[in-house]
């Protein structure tokens, strides 16, 4: 119940605020419907909504195709070097969308992008790819989320009972048909959930469409919301009203997803019987599949990182690389006391906080899974709402909720943790649900029949079996929290500053190379932590290897 209050209070204050003429507590504020009328009916908002849905769906679909193909290649074929490739697949998630966007602007700005400038030198073609376009927005998102889709689908593919596929081979279907007719339907619930989560993440994001869409007049709801907050005088109430639009979109998405996964007990795949999976022998084709994965990694990892590293060593971003343009200054600022505090905070919040959130989501999923009927459905919707509310608005909602409360939450790490808890709840609980869905119920019942209580059985049987999924959940939360800026920027204090807030502020003050340096440092820190976690706890190997 307390949890429900924590989840709903900030969302409720967003809804409340959306009907007001001023922020809560303003003496001269009254009730109004104007914000809703504007957000729901004015042409620019309606077209922004259509853009948002169209963008979210395109990105989610393409990410699933790309990530799913790679997951199949790595999980099921004899493609050379696939385990190494699998480990690299997580890297695109370590740079935030915003930084990826800036890196791609450096790479593919129509006139001065590295790639365009280089290709122009060779071929004379003025611009082979213009990042300022719908395609550019999709590209940046897909490169990011394909890797997210990969992780989800890889785990699902690994858990499909091999005998089901063997049965398909035995009735005469080849690997491709088997994948299409047997494997795909079996992992359909994961596909549906992943689609929804990516869709919501994309629909909620403002930085990519703001930076890349403005030149072509492509606006999404979050980019409009960002304007409402940035324009002076800022209009938080209108922004709140437009934030509620996305809540309905997410609820409709959840209805569709639920319809899809209604019979999730059909898809129990980890049972008390074990069997080994079949590897598809590709022959010469395995070099082609290797090439495909490598191409993705080139676009999603090698190129943006190269741009970031080069950019971080420059005085300012330019394709004209001269020796005089290079400097190490951008890295020097990392070592000020303030910035080291930020690093420590980020590590603490992402590592420890990530662990706490993992435990909470898993317990929530366990507790909610027991709730049958209407309540169970309600919780499914309740958990997606805070994720769908754009982070900027969620941050405002949190301020409105906690600034006046006489509890020591506002201005502490606790409010950041609440923000991260809310931001990731839709993903976290669903991820844990998916994991539990794969554990056959009688494994747990068997434990209860030998005298274990419900909780004991959960801890002794379910948790160890879904350990890989829990590790991958922690990994993702670590990355997400380490990256979070949109809500943090509204809520942090000098004592709770994080790396992304430092990065954001450098960027705002016009120093992109310095922001790049922090992004590089951030990616490296994330990589090192994940590497150590892998060394000590086999986090990645267990989640990739099973």
């Amino acid at each position: 119940m307390l949890l429900l209050v924590v989840i709903l209070a900030p969302v409720a204050s967003v809804f409340y605020g959306s009907f007001r003429t001023g922020p809560p507590g303003s003496p001269d504020a009254g009730f109004t419907l104007q914000n809703w009328v504007t957000a729901y009916f004015s042409p620019s908002y309606v077209s922004a909504l259509i853009n948002t849905v169209w963008l979210g769906a395109t990105v989610a679909a393409l990410s699933l195709v790309v990530g799913g193909t790679i997951a199949w290649i790595i999980a099921r074929t004899d493609t050379p070097g696939r385990m190494q490739l699998a480990l690299l697949m997580i890297v695109p998630l370590m740079i935030s969308n915003l930084i990826t966007t800036l890196a791609w602007i450096a790479l593919a700005a129509p006139n001065a992008g590295f790639i365009n400038a280089y290709v122009r030198g060779w071929t004379g073609v003025r611009t082979i790819f213009n990042i300022y376009s719908f395609a550019g927005i999709v590209l940046v998102h897909v490169l990011h989320y394909a890797s997210f889709a990969f992780l989800a689908l890889f785990a699902a593919l690994k858990s499909v009972d091999a005998s089901l596929e063997e049965a398909s081979y035995m009735v005469g279907y080849g690997p491709v048909q088997t994948s299409a007719r047997m494997t795909l339907p079996l992992i359909a619930p994961t596909i549906a959930t992943t689609f929804l989560v990516i869709f919501v993440f994309v629909a909620e994001n403002f930085s990519v469409p703001t930076l890349l869409g403005t030149p072509v007049g492509f606006q999404t709801l979050p980019s409009l919301i960002y304007y409402n907050m940035a324009v002076t005088p800022s209009q938080p109430n209108l922004a709140a009203a437009s934030g509620t639009v996305l809540v309905w979109v997410a609820i409709i998405g959840t209805i569709l997803q639920r319809r899809f996964t209604r019979h999730s007990d059909r898809y129990v795949t980890v049972t008390g019987k074990g069997s080994r999976q079949r590897e598809v022998r590709l022959g010469q084709w395995r070099y082609a599949t290797f090439g495909l994965v490598a191409l993705y990694l080139l676009l999603a990892v090698a190129l943006p990182y190269l741009a970031l590293v080069i950019g971080s060593l420059l005085n300012f971003l330019t394709p004209n690389l001269r020796w005089s343009a290079f400097t190490l200054d951008n890295y020097r600022v990392l070592f000020t006391e303030d910035n080291l505090t930020a690093v420590t905070n980020s590590l603490l919040l992402a590592g420890g906080g990530g662990l706490a959130l993992t435990a909470i989501y898993v317990l929530m999923s366990f507790a909610l899974g027991r709730v049958r009927g209407a309540w169970g459905r309600v919780t499914d919707y309740v958990t997606i709402i805070p994720t769908a509310v754009p982070a900027l608005i969620l941050g405002v909602g949190l301020i409105w909720t906690f600034v006046g409360l006489p509890v020591p939450i506002y201005g502490t790490m606790a409010i950041l943790m609440i923000a991260y808890f809310l931001r990731n709840i839709g993903y976290g609980v669903r991820q844990a649900d998916n994991a539990f869905n794969q554990v056959s119920g009688d494994l747990v019942e068997a434990a209860r029949m030998t005298g274990a209580s419900r909780l004991r059985a959960f801890l002794d049987v379910s948790v160890p079996i879904i350990k890989p999924a829990i590790f991958s959940l922690w990994t993702m939360l670590f990355i997400f929290i380490f990256m979070e800026v949109s809500a943090t920027i509204l809520l942090y204090t000098p004592a709770t500053r994080t790396m992304p807030t430092v990065l954001w502020n450098y960027m705002g003050s016009g120093s992109q190379p310095r922001a790049f340096a922090i992004a590089v440092a951030q990616a490296n820190i994330i990589f090192i932590v994940l590497y150590l976690a892998e060394r000590w706890f086999k986090t990645l190997r267990t989640s990739l290897d099973k």
Partner: protein
């Protein structure tokens, strides 16, 4: 009458400062504060020793500042050197977020911020009349004209000058001559080569649109729209695109975006045509400041010769009367600060946001 007295008082105070024995008698009891007190007597002669003592007792001050990180950090470091007994804490965010937080906290009675800054003077004016700012007249008040302060409430840290900027690799000096007046931007030469910053980005990005529309009328925007400029979401990415050579000209560039790049050696230049456009960035003390004395001390320091110079060197054009521009760019022969500034009503500019944005969309945003 009072105004006439002012110089006399100042002179008297100056005399007092110059007399060490006398100063000692009125100085702080704690000998460790002597260096700080000596500095105060020199540069903020109106501030009494009791302010220093009270500020030191409070021990800390919290500044909500904008994303001019370098200037602010340099000034804070210098302040700490002068006043080691006051620890400076800072929170920095974009305008909208900073305002949202400050307003919410104030309404809820959360006393966190001591000093607030804002690049929208209209916002500070509104706060002053709403009673959320502390009335404190700084010692250097007289060095600030009425356009760059609201007496006793906020004082300008800088004028965020708006200019026409170009990439020197892509625009020849001859071509650049066209850009010395605002009207020059409508020249067909710039078709397909230029960019504008969306007025929705707020603050500095917005004001030129307001002034252009008022001064030159919608035809000006129409002509500009015919050149099909690229639209960039905010000042920082626009300046970065200019420096990298992705765009050749920005019609409404801001020095806040240009300076950091110029100082790093980017091939850019800009003109500041007459009449100048440069909204003030102001600083004020919160009425609910939890450390009012430390806040007053910082407010005093920020507008002293030393404090102002340190900030201004990195932060932007000085708004203090007669203050010598410390920025290296000011030494450049091509750099000229406008003689006159376009007068405008700060309240009216805030009110017209919607109308200006609509005109912009009509002639430029949708003209693609």
């Amino acid at each position: 009458m009072l105004n006439m007295c002012k110089p006399i008082v100042a002179t008297l105070l100056g005399l007092l400062a110059a007399a060490p024995a006398f100063a000692q008698a009125n100085g702080p009891a704690d000998a460790r504060l002597a260096p700080s007190w000596a500095f105060m007597q020199q540069q903020m002669p109106g501030a009494p020793a009791s302010l220093l003592e009270a500020a030191c007792k409070e021990g800390t001050v919290m500044i909500y500042h904008g994303t001019w990180v370098d200037a602010q950090e340099a000034q804070i470091a210098a302040f700490q050197k002068r006043f080691p007994c006051v620890k400076v804490e800072k929170f920095s965010a974009d305008t909208g977020q900073r305002q949202e937080r400050w307003v919410s906290e104030t309404r809820a009675g959360r006393r966190i911020a001591d000093i607030i800054q804002d690049s929208d003077p209209g916002f500070l004016d509104k706060q002053a009349s709403a009673g959320t700012l502390l009335n404190y007249k700084i010692s250097n008040d007289s060095a600030f004209d009425d356009e760059v302060k609201k007496e006793g409430y906020w004082y300008a840290l800088r004028a965020a000058l708006v200019g026409i900027a170009w990439n020197t690799d892509l625009v020849s000096d001859d071509e650049a001559k066209l850009l010395s007046t605002w009207e020059g931007v409508t020249n067909p030469k710039w078709a397909g080569r230029a960019a504008v910053v969306d007025p929705s980005a707020g603050g500095v990005a917005y004001l030129p649109w307001y002034i252009w529309l008022n001064r030159f009328g919608p035809e000006f925007l129409q002509k500009m729209g015919a050149l099909k400029p690229r639209i960039v979401a905010a000042i920082v990415p626009a300046s970065a695109a200019l420096a990298s050579g992705d765009i050749a000209v920005i019609f409404n560039a801001s020095e806040t975006g240009l300076l950091p790049l110029y100082q790093k050696g980017a091939p850019i230049r800009w003109s500041l045509p007459e009449p100048g456009i440069g909204p003030m960035t102001g600083q004020a003390i919160a009425a609910t400041a939890p450390h009012p004395n430390a806040a007053k001390l910082y407010q005093e320091y920020a507008f002293t010769e030393e404090g102002y110079g340190i900030w201004q060197k990195l932060g932007g054009a000085p708004a203090k009367r007669g203050f010598k521009d410390q920025r290296p760019v000011a030494q450049e022969p091509w750099y000229k600060i406008p003689k006159t500034f376009a007068p405008y009503d700060r309240a009216d500019a805030s009110e017209k946001v919607k109308a200006v944005t609509e005109a912009y969309h009509k002639y430029i945003g949708n003209a693609r």
